[in-house]
């Protein structure tokens, strides 16, 4: 049995994956495309937050919301300017892949390639009987819980949320009931990108900020949603949890071999359950 520190660390890890994966699945279920540049919204979110705090002196929670709003706007622009004008799943995929290079280049140009950090945000360590967890990690866990509760509320108890669920289950039928799929997809793209940006923002004090930090969480989120079952929101959460815990626990036992074990496990899960753990329906 690994020490408690490893479990808490695994939880903090899964939180990022969950938020990222949740946004990706949401976009996928309405737009029917995978946004490959999702990780770059994570990166841009943390860079925006970095500037909001260091240059403008905005407090952290407000900066986090600002990063979310800013990236939601950028996501909507990307949706209108690029995704809507390119037709076919494949071509949209290629366009969002090309956006990775664009955003990373842009960020290197404006932000520089050097690592920067926000360690001054929420400094200090929470001591709990021999176990110490940084406030930054606590913030990540609390933030993710809040996001999950809010998203649950939005999806189940608001008109828009119900519309989102309806469209993801059956777009044609939903449009017959007067739901504008077009407008809804803009909103969903905004929410998805905002989630990615806020995940990047909440992780900015934990890990360094540079133009290339978006790649790893993007891949992990992709693995999470596929393990969970594409199109399933609860699947994304479970997938994120599994990956986060596996990553920490296996690394504790096997150190560097953890990476390969993780990929082998993903393959095995997909071979045993070819539709992911939670099938393909939105719950």
């Amino acid at each position: 049995m690994p020490p408690a520190g490893i479990w808490i660390d695994g939880l903090a890890q899964s939180c990022t994956y969950m938020t990222m994966a949740f946004g990706m699945v949401l976009v996928f279920s309405i737009l029917g495309i995978l946004n490959w540049a999702h990780g770059q919204f994570y990166m841009l979110g943390s860079i925006l937050l970095y500037y909001a705090i260091t240059a403008a002196g905005i407090p952290f929670p407000a900066g986090l919301l600002l990063a979310g709003l800013g990236m939601a706007l950028l996501g909507i622009i990307v949706k209108v300017v690029i995704i809507d004008r390119v037709e076919g799943e494949l071509y949209v995929g290629a366009a969002t892949l090309a956006l990775i290079f664009f955003f990373e280049g842009l960020a290197s140009l404006l932000f520089g390639m050097q690592d920067r950090g926000l360690s001054m945000v929420l400094p200090g360590v929470l001591e709990m009987g021999g176990l110490s967890v940084s406030y930054q990690k606590v913030a990540v866990i609390v933030f993710t819980l809040v996001v999950m509760v809010v998203m649950y509320y939005v999806l189940h108890f608001t008109r828009m949320g119900k519309a989102i669920r309806a469209v993801s289950q059956n777009p044609d039928a939903a449009s017959l009931y007067g739901i504008s799929v077009e407008r809804l997809s803009l909103v969903v793209m905004g929410i998805g990108c905002a989630l990615a940006a806020m995940a990047g923002g909440i992780m900015a004090p934990v890990y360094p900020v540079n133009p290339f930090i978006g790649r790893a969480p993007m891949i992990m989120a992709l693995l999470a949603i596929v393990i969970g079952g594409l199109g399933s929101l609860s699947g994304a959460i479970v997938g994120g949890l599994i990956l986060g815990f596996l990553h920490s626990v296996i690394a504790y036992y096997l150190s560097y071999l953890a990476e390969v074990v993780l990929f082998v496990l993903v393959i095995i899960i997909l071979l045993v359950k070819p539709q992911g753990l939670f099938g393909a329906s939105i719950k």
Partner: protein
């Protein structure tokens, strides 16, 4: 202060004028300095970009300082021009950069490269009889990619594993009552070099524990826990800055505040560590130190100590803010000085075979100390040995001299 800057600008303008006129007038006048192009292959973009960019102001200022007097070979005056090309930190990019330098820019000397691009760059430079002066000598150790017969136009820097060993010696000397040294490196570094490190450390009776992590790891909690369980209280990494910053931060958060953390390789910028890891957590962080003018044990020609200080000031003036990074001294200046002295010995600036002959077994006085190149004795070609393991430490928001240990080269 203002006047000084003004003078410098005039100087730069004059120099630029001279350089430009030198290009256009070629060899019409014997007194006009001729430009010798030097290629520099470095990662200038992408995740490794900061490492290629950081020393650039230092290189530029150093070459400007050298050019002020010019280099006299065989009675003729020459100046240098550094042409830097991005290799995107990949073997393919390295080969592309080398081809561009050799066949488009017509350079005869290339400075570079990081060890994992060495084979692809060497495969381009050697057939073209272009001298490649590499940053490290990692491929020169037995079992490396270096084959003397096929790569006669290669000059190596110090193998980083040897620097690593002397750093550990320096570290252990500074903290004699340590319980165990944890050595962390990404799996990118695995290979014969580390076997050699392990052997040497065991021979010296140093207690250590090795831990590998996949490249790009950000969450070090499992690895720090493993170090803890192995009984380590010093963790010294293999030059991966991101990992060093994160171990520094995460061990602090996990409550192992008295652990000493360090990394091989120069410190890019103390402010970066403070920003990422926190002010308190980064106090006492240890890294290799390349600024050589206040070493305690190493003897460097005072002329060069002064030169480096001047260059540091010139670089600060050129970029308009204090330039504190000292890693630039590590190899380009020393290699350039070797090259110049070899050119003077060989009495030629373009016969690379003669220059190589002068480099092998020759003794050179450089900014990093006086070396005798190993010649045929070690690996059949020139290999530089002699960089001492000098360490620095973060104190407040500054990088200060910490300790050093003399060198133990491969027999």
């Amino acid at each position: 202060m203002k006047k000084q800057k003004f003078n410098f600008t005039i100087l730069m303008v004059v120099f630029m004028f001279l350089a430009v006129s030198a290009v256009f007038t070629t060899t019409a006048f014997a007194e006009e300095p001729t430009v010798i192009k030097i290629g520099n292959i470095s990662p200038l973009s992408g995740p490794a970009g900061p490492w290629g960019q950081a020393p650039m102001p230092g290189y530029d200022a150093f070459i400007a300082a050298m050019n002020k007097e010019g280099v006299v070979v065989n009675g003729k005056k020459y100046v240098f021009k550094l042409i830097s090309v991005d290799d995107q930190n990949s073997p393919e990019g390295g080969a592309r950069a080398a081809k561009r330098l050799i066949y488009e820019e017509k350079v005869k000397f290339i400075l570079g490269h990081w060890s994992w691009n060495f084979p692809s760059v060497a495969a381009v430079t050697n057939p073209a009889k272009v001298i490649l002066m590499t940053r490290t000598g990692n491929e020169a150790v037995p079992g490396g990619a270096y084959t003397p017969k096929k790569m006669p136009y290669t000059v190596f820097g110090t193998p980083s594993h040897e620097r690593f060993i002397s750093s550990i010696f320096a570290l252990v000397k500074a903290y004699p009552d340590y319980s165990k040294v944890g050595i962390s490196d990404s799996t990118l570094g695995k290979g014969i070099g580390w076997d050699y490190v392990d052997r040497e450390l065991a021979k010296a009776g140093i207690r250590f524990h090795h831990e590998w992590y996949p490249p790009g790891t950000q969450d070090f909690t499992p690895y720090i826990t493993r170090f803890k369980e192995a009984g380590c209280d010093i963790v010294f990494g293999g030059g991966d800055v991101m990992a060093a910053m994160l171990i520094l931060k995460q061990r602090w958060e996990m409550g192992y505040k008295d652990w000493k953390i360090g990394t091989a390789g120069a410190m890019l910028d103390p402010k970066m560590y403070i920003g990422v890891s926190g002010m308190e957590a980064s106090q006492g962080f240890i890294s290799q130190y390349d600024a050589n003018w206040n070493f305690k044990k190493t003897i460097v020609n005072p002329k060069y100590v002064k030169m480096c200080q001047t260059v540091q000031k010139m670089a600060s003036d050129a970029i308009g803010k204090p330039y504190n990074y000292t890693g630039w001294i590590e190899w380009v200046p020393a290699h350039l000085q070797i090259l110049v002295q070899a050119m003077q010995k060989a009495n030629t600036v373009d016969d690379t075979a003669a220059i190589m002959k002068a480099i092998r077994g020759g003794t050179f006085d450089t900014v990093s100390g006086k070396y005798t190149m190993s010649g045929k004795k070690t690996y059949g070609a020139a290999v530089v040995f002699g960089n001492p393991g000098v360490m620095s430490q973060i104190k407040g928001d500054k990088e200060v001299y910490f300790s050093e240990s003399p060198w133990t080269p491969i027999p």
